[in-house]
């Protein structure tokens, strides 16, 4: 299948300020924490149950939580030490309270013996999927969907394209960028494993054109490797939200994912660049998912890209970067467009955290909607955000459902442009929650 659009800009979306403060800063390992708090639900799907008890000693890479449901991924210890208790923390995407295990580190960083396969290139597909699940790999782009579920499409839905998402359209975030630059070879081998499992007709690597060094580096790597006929790099004009998988599929292939369905219903699977690298770690080196690159940026003294173990408190990471600047009053977990503001500096880093942004922000007051229509111009999903916000405010959730509120990816482009400061995304989230609870009005 030929690519339709290469450098044309997306007709929807907004141009956001990029502020990639840390894109030239190499990845640095974060200092090992004294204590980690590991929530037992870090992915979309079923929460895990703890498989270790209080007082037990655990090693790095040892499984501490698992679930027997299909859409789930196990959780591993990220430091070696003793399990000293449990705590309830809020799971930010859903607002629910989940259990978390507290492990006090003993400073030795002792690893469990890794199960490195003899010849990773010749493992059968079933074995690959078992290893990927066993390593607890989830989508590291922020959504945290268990990867082995994405890699096992039902047989009646053939996949013909795989896209590696290196877009990173959120401002400030540079973790995927640095992974592509520094672990490019590993990422490509991980992508090759995905290709082996799914057997598509074409594999594309989508990168925004503001990462020119990554594009040229990967092009060189691919040209000199055995993948030169398989992988194709597609530079895309940088616009938000290019990295959202639905808009990416439309831009690249011209296909639309049917409403309420997954990309595999359109024959496409999209994976994040860091997830591909994690797959390499799991298959070639037998390492479970215990760390990821987190960008700490914004109003801090030194923005950095840190290789962090899950469970580290975000306060300690910010202190390592020189602490928040004076006057900064907001700490965002995730990018500034879709991230969630935090109030607790002890909150742990989880699998879906790709960056932490510190900001100095002002309060903004909501004005009445002036019907300017700017939100409709920018919505990538073809919705009418002004109507959705108005109905959600009035409590007419049934009307919201009729206006396809389920299609909304909550990217925030509408609220970014709104001159009346209406918090459209918050209204949509409340309406979706009420509809899920079963509101009929």
């Amino acid at each position: 299948m030929d690519i339709k659009l290469k450098k044309k800009a997306s007709p929807y979306g907004v141009k956001v300020p990029e502020n990639k403060l840390s894109d030239k800063i190499p990845i640095e390992p974060a200092p090992l924490p004294d204590k980690v708090v590991i929530p037992l639900q870090q992915n979309i799907g079923a929460p895990c149950k703890a498989t270790v008890k209080k007082g037990e000693r655990v090693l790095v890479g040892q499984k501490i939580g698992d679930s027997d449901k299909f859409v789930s991924a196990p959780i591993h210890a990220t430091v070696s030490g003793e399990v000293t208790g449990t705590k309830m923390v809020i799971n930010p995407p859903t607002g629910q309270l989940v259990n978390a295990l507290i492990i006090t580190a003993d400073g030795k960083d002792e690893w469990l013996e890794l199960d490195v396969p003899q010849s990773p290139e010749s493992l059968p597909v079933k074995e690959l999927l078992t290893r990927i699940r066993g390593a607890g790999i989830v989508g590291l782009g922020g959504a945290a969907f268990p990867t082995q579920v994405k890699l096992s499409p039902p047989p009646d839905k053939p996949i013909d394209t795989v896209i590696l998402n290196g877009c990173e359209c959120e401002p400030y975030a540079t973790s995927d960028h640095r992974v592509m630059l520094e672990y490019g070879e590993k990422m490509l081998r991980g992508l090759n494993i995905i290709r082996k499992i799914l057997d598509p007709k074409a594999v594309y690597i989508a990168i925004e054109d503001n990462k020119e060094d990554a594009i040229s580096h990967l092009e060189k790597l691919i040209a000199n490797s055995e993948f030169r006929d398989d992988f194709k790099i597609v530079p895309l004009k940088s616009k938000y939200p290019m990295g959202a998988e639905k808009t990416l599929i439309k831009m690249l292939l011209g296909r639309e994912v049917p409403i309420g369905k997954l990309p595999l219903d359109a024959g496409v699977v999209v994976h994040n660049a860091s997830t591909a690298k994690a797959i390499y770690d799991a298959i070639y080196e037998g390492k479970p998912l215990i760390e990821r690159v987190v960008t700490i940026t914004g109003a801090v003294k030194q923005p950095k890209n840190l290789l962090t173990r899950f469970g580290t408190s975000i306060g300690s990471l910010i202190n390592y970067c020189g602490s928040m600047n004076k006057g900064a009053n907001k700490l965002i977990m995730g990018g500034p467009m879709m991230g969630i503001a935090q109030f607790d500096l002890d909150f742990p880093v989880v699998k879906g955290t790709n960056c932490l942004v510190v900001q100095e922000s002002k309060l903004r007051e909501e004005h009445d909607c002036i019907r300017c229509g700017k939100c409709i111009e920018v919505c990538p999903m073809g919705l009418m955000p002004t109507d959705l916000a108005r109905y959600a405010k009035a409590g007419r959730y049934d009307e919201c459902k009729e206006k396809y509120i389920d299609d909304c990816v909550e990217c925030g482009a509408c609220a970014f442009t709104c001159p009346a400061n209406i918090p459209i995304v918050q209204y949509v989230k409340v309406a979706k929650k009420e509809l899920a609870k079963g509101a009929t009005r």
Binding site: I332, P419, V425
Partner: protein, 319 residues
């Protein structure tokens, strides 16, 4: 967390483009300064009190109405725009007390009684002009000449049947374009309206679709009726209406497609009123008429949502 260094929680997104209602309103006011300046130049400083009274009474009325409704009064520039636009559609010799009544009608009845900014159906300035045309019809149709025109105390506007032009057709076009003809304050100088309008389009404050389709449709219809299209475009309040009245956010459709349909329909109705109706000027009433159709346009002309294959309800279940 101690109360002194509390963190702020607010919903995403945490970045903003920097647009605000105030900024948009004041951009329009600055663009309106061009026709206002032209009016003062052509008709003399005696028109300044008309503008002053209109703007002042508008702001005062809005303040009183908001207080009566128990809402907070925000000086967001929308009352200033209504006041200025109202002044620009009135003839230069109108008594000041009529201007005040018009401004009160515009804000209190056409805007606030329908719900305030964002909820009104009709354009306030045009609604007031329609009210004044009916109530004070004599004063609203008395046109005075500009400072540069030869004698006569009252004369006819170019659209009136009794209009007589001494000079060539080209000089008529020149006069209409520059503004040296009789008419209401703001509609005479096409040049300055164009400057203001193109400025707003460049700043992305108004959408180009409405003015372009409106003016284009008027020219086309003029050709169809065997009239001179250039004369039709340059005379009357078409330019002012197309750039500043029809493009008002609240009373025009939301979607781009809807705006094109709006512009085409406006052009059609304007020419029909000018040609078949007994009023010489059709812009005011055509815009008011189409304002009433905007909720209908918004209901049926929607963007196509992503991933919805057929909007028609399907009986059989799909996979």
């Amino acid at each position: 967390m101690t109360p002194d260094n509390r963190l702020l929680i607010s919903p995403g997104p945490h970045l903003w483009k920097g647009l605000s209602v105030n900024k948009i309103m004041y951009q329009v006011v600055i663009a309106l300064m061009f026709p206002t300046g032209a009016a003062i130049y052509f008709f003399g400083p005696k028109v300044i009190p008309i503008m002053g009274v209109s703007v002042g009474v508008s702001i005062l009325t809005e303040y009183l109405c908001k207080k009566l409704r128990g809402r907070a009064f925000i000086m967001d520039g929308s009352a200033v725009i209504t006041g200025l636009l109202l002044a620009l559609v009135l003839p230069p010799s109108i008594p000041l007390w009529m201007v005040a009544i018009g401004a009160v009608f515009a804000i209190a009845i056409v805007k606030e009684a329908f719900g305030g900014l964002g909820h009104n159906i009709f354009n306030p300035a045009l609604g007031a002009r329609a009210f004044m045309s009916v109530s004070f019809s004599a004063e609203m149709t008395t046109w005075t000449p500009t400072r540069f025109m030869p004698d006569a105390v009252t004369c006819a506007t170019p659209l009136n049947e009794s209009f007589v032009w001494q000079g060539s057709q080209a000089s008529l076009y020149h006069a209409l374009f520059m503004g040296n003809t009789a008419g209401s304050l703001g509609e005479t100088s096409v040049l300055f309206i164009l400057i203001g309008g193109i400025l707003l389009i460049g700043l992305r404050t108004i959408n180009w679709r409405i003015p372009v389709t409106y003016i284009g449709m008027v020219a086309l219809m003029a050709l169809a009726f065997g009239q001179d299209p250039l004369l039709y475009i340059l005379s009357g309040g078409l330019m002012l209406g197309a750039f500043f009245m029809a493009t008002d956010y609240v009373t025009s459709p939301l979607t781009n497609q809807g705006k094109i349909i709006f512009g085409i329909a406006l052009g059609l109705v304007t020419v029909l009123i000018r040609h078949f109706g007994s009023m010489p000027e059709g812009v005011c009433f055509s815009i008011l008429l189409m304002n009433a159709f905007v909720p209908l346009i918004d209901r049926f002309i929607r963007p196509k949502p992503y991933g919805v294959v057929k909007v028609v309800k399907k009986v059989s279940s799909e996979g």
